[in-house]
Symmetry: C2
């Protein structure tokens, strides 16, 4: 096999507002690699199949932010959750043909020296590889594990889910439905509203055209708030909360591109005995991982749990999709299909 | 006994900023009462002994605020925690000479029809009645019960306590000390700083002259935050929090007189997996009441737990003291001594 182009998405400059395709990141085709002969030095060669584009990645594009994950390195490929296949291996714990899930560079081929941040996994049901980035991957785990850990759900309670058409929110809606809740759900397009209704939301609305405060006043009070948004929406949820409400703080995308959101209604935490829980899904995984894989894949395979993906073809789309997931213009869980096996 | 003046502190006008003595409340001496002959209609007559002035009372002076307690009624006496003695009784569950703790009107004499919001209590150690408004009353219970319920304290952790010289904060400091914590504590005067050191604070500072952010950067990160302040101090605590920190949201006095505080660092709840707990002490009382009364009174009687009171003589001081506890110019737990037995 002759050398081939090793396409790479490089971190090119710190983002201050929204990430800009071609500026914040650039797609580079100057590197070539010969998969058959490239030295592995005891490691293994990965061919990237699928890459996940997620809202949290914005945090890695900022300067000097103390965060739970380090920023991307300028001039180096960005990384994210992905699925890859092993092309060649000199490592005793992994062999050619194995599939791995974990942190993968946004490149066609990468050499790894060990299994740090990677898990070898099986796919007995021959589900599409992209599934392992969405409903069976980090977003699905996020929804399932935090719901189990923090919701303290009781049948008949009212739940408000933001970004309810996304890969996390749409699973939260379906879990809440299975637990017998009334579900209020918001998203940013009529098409997303339609999808939220299909998967069980009792009240679904487009926050761009409908006033969140008014919906919550009419349909609340709420017992559980699944926050992916922060800012004014979080304030609205604080005002609409029932005594003893649980707030599951999954994301605050409203502030990611504007230097942070402002809140003015936090005293409701005291007035209403609210508990608010931030979390990192990785820390919940040891406790809930087994139940997740026992519960969710069969429901996905049978179609009882629905999920959607918005698949883009080729690494050259990464910059655009990074922007799309910040603006919410993607249609569903955003995946870059990098290569077939 | 001839009729006597029944002094009353009346709610006179809605407060928009700080409460103003003589305007927000007025001390009224126009009512007379004859304790020996006033009709009880099956109820009982209370003589007020001690009244507690607490920061939360500001919330009852605002208009149209949905809060956990209703606003005061214009033209009527304000109410608050207090201790009273029964002068006469026609009620089968209570007799002359009994002492009650609970919600008491800010008047010399009041007629009650039943024991709603009142508890008959004993004082075998002959502790001053005012003790039951401070370290053995609502503030003491607040500190003890929320610390037990939410701190998840582990020996060696670092705790940041705001308003650490107050009746709640000073007990939190002493509980945290007994649990083996490093304690950072703030208050608003050098005298309060000195007291916080005496009761066990490892780092005590005057937030008016020392920068909170700098103290927390140097002495943090913090594992537990006891919030009585909210606003910028809460933001500083969010920035200084350790992963997995617990925030006990007891009060947000920084916003009570300014229309609410603003927060901009709430994303740290997610970044650091923080859990934040608002609470109402009354809801914790069924779970922790027994342990509180078994633990704290003996420690107070023996002097192992220290407490301070700032006692003002007479109902005519209520307006001034309401303002003082909002500005923090009181020296310790503020109590109005209304009458001797």
């Amino acid at each position: 096999m002759a050398p081939v182009t090793n396409g790479r998405v490089l971190f090119n400059s710190i983002a201050t507002g929204f990430p800009e395709p071609g500026k914040t990141t650039v797609y580079d085709t100057t590197q070539v690699i010969d998969p058959e002969t490239v030295p592995l030095n005891g490691g293994f060669l990965l061919k990237t199949l699928e890459l996940s584009i997620d809202p949290y990645m914005r945090g890695r594009m900022s300067a000097n932010v103390k965060s739970y994950i380090p920023p991307f390195l300028l001039g180096e490929p960005i990384t994210g959750y992905g699925v890859a296949v092993v092309v060649r291996s000199e490592h005793s714990e992994i062999k050619a043909g194995d599939h791995v899930y974990g942190t993968i560079a946004h490149v066609n081929y990468s050499i790894r020296k060990d299994l740090s941040y990677l898990t070898v996994f099986q796919n007995p049901d021959k589900l599409p590889w992209s599934t392992f980035l969405g409903v069976l991957g980090m977003p699905g785990k996020t929804a399932f594990m935090a719901w189990k850990e923090y919701s303290q759900v009781k049948k008949g309670e009212t739940v408000f889910v933001t970004t309810g058409a996304g890969p996390v929110g749409s699973l939260v809606i379906q879990l809440a439905k299975r637990d017998g809740c009334k579900i209020i759900a918001s998203a940013g397009s009529e098409e997303k509203v339609q999808f939220m209704k299909e998967i069980g939301a009792d009240v679904a609305f487009n926050y761009k055209t409908t006033n969140t405060v008014e919906v919550l006043e009419k349909e609340g009070p709420i017992d559980i708030y699944w926050d992916n948004v922060g800012g004014a929406t979080l304030d609205a949820a604080l005002d609409a909360a029932n005594d003893g409400a649980r707030f599951i703080e999954c994301g605050m995308i409203s502030g990611y591109n504007t230097g942070g959101a402002t809140n003015t209604r936090l005293f409701q935490v005291i007035a209403k005995s609210i508990s608010m829980h931030g979390f990192i899904v990785g820390r919940l995984e040891p406790k809930w991982g087994k139940e997740f894989f026992a519960t969710i894949p069969p429901l996905v395979a049978s179609g009882e749990i629905k999920h959607r993906e918005d698949i883009y073809e080729g690494l050259e789309w990464v910059g655009d999709v990074l922007l799309a997931v910040q603006k919410g213009t993607n249609k569903a869980k955003a995946v870059i299909h990098v290569a077939d096996e």
